[in-house]
């Protein structure tokens, strides 16, 4: 785990710090406290690795903080990287758990490298798409949003059916 070893703590601390900063700058001290608590929890979980759901809890809390932050209209250039770092942390931490009992070998390095390249691509493309969407906002009527919502629900249903098959 040559590459992923340092990515996990860095991404976790970055996500927590960015959330703390976003809530702090918006003077929502309760949210800032929650972000700080999240960072501490993430660090504790990283050191102990006692609970298999530790990384999932971090993801859920971080995404909820981002959601609330977006509703509270906090700084988006802090929330978006925080979300991306959270996703990186959650993915790499789970990858490390999956590979925990794998002995060091060239194969493992290959898997790690390939995993990181795919993840990097997804995060980069996701970040750019989100940024572009945030930068160039289009006003939609409620009816269009409703139609888009229906399309989304149908799409999700189709994906679910595809996965079930």
């Amino acid at each position: 785990m040559r590459y992923t070893r340092w990515i996990v703590p860095v991404s976790m601390l970055s996500a927590s710090f960015l959330l703390l900063l976003a809530y702090g700058l918006g003077e929502y001290w309760l949210g800032a406290l929650a972000a700080a608590g999240l960072g501490l929890w993430g660090w504790y979980d990283l050191k102990k690795r006692k609970w298999v759901w530790g990384v999932d809890i971090f993801l859920v809390v971080a995404v909820l903080l981002v959601t609330v932050g977006a509703i509270l209209e906090l700084r988006l250039y802090l929330l978006l990287p925080a979300l991306l770092f959270t996703l990186v942390f959650w993915d790499i931490a789970r990858f490390q758990i999956r590979m925990a009992d794998a002995p060091a070998s060239q194969k493992l390095v290959d898997i790690e490298r390939r995993h990181l390249s795919i993840l990097g691509m997804v995060i980069a493309v996701g970040g750019v798409v989100a940024f572009v969407t945030l930068a160039f906002q289009v006003q939609l009527s409620f009816a269009v949003i409703l139609i888009l919502g229906v399309v989304l629900v149908i799409s999700l249903g189709q994906i679910y059916r595809l996965l079930r098959s």
Partner: protein, 432 residues
């Protein structure tokens, strides 16, 4: 198979989108896009039906306890590329892992093969490798396909066999082939058997000239005792009360080791040997000779274990028809008072019996944390008195006893008895 991580991320994504829709906050929808892309890429890479071919080869399929066996596994991907493949044994086995990799994590291109091996060391028994569990996971770990790959194998771990010197036995009946046992019949042999009148055709080398000189007409010739092989029946007592276990060590293992060593000794001398394991059922190895028979005996002993069957709770249910008539019986058991009646009945039926008894009390004392405890001392004395009484009764019935203190090797104990017996015979000869 969808992993819980997929549902967690999907719910979070849906939460962001639905909240965005309800609050009419487009920022939330935009922020949910990286999660959406992550999910879509996972769906794109989601593994379908796999075509994996696995094979297993073992360096040997039978080993003696303490030896190593190398397990070599080969898995070939005959389908699309696999991003993450986790291979592990389908059934966990309780053997000592000495090196190598029991599981493998790899990535496989179409047509590519992965090979790995590990070394195992097992206790006596039969170990079956059912197959491999292959977990095919897409890069993000949200989808997983589990497949059982048939790669069966079996290893038999034989009990340890210690070299024993020939132990003298005198069964009432021997077989027709030349062997090491005095047959109580005159014929060609080494030991002097008696003198009879010379008959035409007798070798002049065997004429007893001293005796003949005392007679005016008749000539006398020496007779020698024929040496033959015998029928030996080993009975291994595997009833639950014959076994005591302490921290992974079992008294029954000593019985099995003794049976294996004795079988090797008797077969090495050329005897016809059969084995009977008195356990949940009666496991029987039919009479036979030589190395093939030794293999059969070891195979039966490798899988021997104690078990309870109320129909076989007492030794008196052991049928005599399973045993060689008027042959040598070797009963390997810690011996309980309930066995006395049947053993003595065997004697009356014309069997010569040797009892090899691993000392259960020694075993307990050996494993006891505080053997000087008064309660333990008292219990040990009672048990010793009972054991002495059983052995006295057996000796009176003409049964030869080997009281095996399990902290000593069986060969030492048998040597000691062999010396005692020869001294006793010498004393009897001198007195006569």
């Amino acid at each position: 198979m969808i992993t819980p991580s997929f549902w967690i991320l999907s719910i979070l994504f849906a939460t962001m989108v639905i909240t965005g829709l309800f609050t009419m906050n487009s920022t939330l929808i935009a922020l949910s896009l990286p999660l959406n892309l992550y999910l879509l890429v996972a769906v794109f890479f989601a593994p379908g039906k796999q075509k994996l071919k696995a094979s297993r080869s073992l360096s040997t399929d039978r080993i003696t306890q303490g030896m190593d066996v190398t397990v070599h596994i080969q898995v070939t991907n005959e389908h699309a590329r696999i991003e993450e493949l986790h291979l592990s044994e389908l059934s966990p086995f309780s053997v000592k892992d000495l090196g190598g990799r029991v599981s493998e994590h790899t990535t496989l291109a179409p047509g590519e093969t992965v090979e790995y091996e590990y070394i195992l060391q097992g206790w006596r028994g039969e170990y079956r490798f059912e197959g491999l569990l292959a977990r095919v996971i897409e890069p993000f770990g949200l989808f997983e396909v589990r497949e059982q790959l048939p790669a069966v194998g079996k290893v038999l771990v034989y009990p340890e066999v210690s070299n024993l010197k020939a132990f003298p036995i005198r069964p009432p009946q021997t077989k027709g082939f030349t062997g090491p046992i005095p047959s109580r019949k005159s014929g060609t042999g080494m030991d002097f058997f008696g003198i009879r009148q010379y008959q035409l055709g007798d070798s002049l080398r065997h004429v007893n000239w001293q005796k003949s000189a005392r007679h005016s007409v008749d000539l006398f010739t020496n007779e020698y005792e024929q040496e033959r092989i015998a029928d030996v029946g080993l009975i291994l007592d595997a009833r639950p009360h014959c076994d005591i276990a302490f921290q992974g060590r079992r008294l029954f293992e000593y019985s099995v080791e003794a049976t294996a060593s004795l079988s090797e000794m008797f077969l090495g001398e050329g005897h016809c040997l059969s084995l009977l394991i008195y356990s949940v059922g009666i496991v029987r190895v039919f009479p036979g000779y030589g190395k093939v028979q030794q293999e059969r005996v070891l195979k039966a002993l490798a899988t021997a274990d104690t078990g309870l069957n109320y129909a076989m709770e007492h030794l008196r249910y052991l049928p005599a028809r399973f045993l060689p008539p008027r042959g040598q019986l070797v009963y390997i058991s810690p011996v309980s008072s309930g066995d006395l009646e049947r053993i003595i009945r065997f004697r009356t039926q014309g069997y010569e019996i040797l009892v090899v008894s691993p000392n259960a009390m020694d075993f307990e004392r050996w494993n006891e944390t505080d053997p000087e405890k008064p309660d333990f001392q008292l219990a040990a004395r009672f048990a010793q008195v009972e054991r002495d009484l059983i052995f006295n009764n057996l000796r009176e019935a003409g049964v030869q006893i080997v009281n095996w203190h399990v902290d000593q090797p069986l060969s030492t104990v048998l040597d000691h008895i062999r010396i005692q017996n020869s001294l006793r015979q010498r004393t009897i000869q001198v007195l006569q």
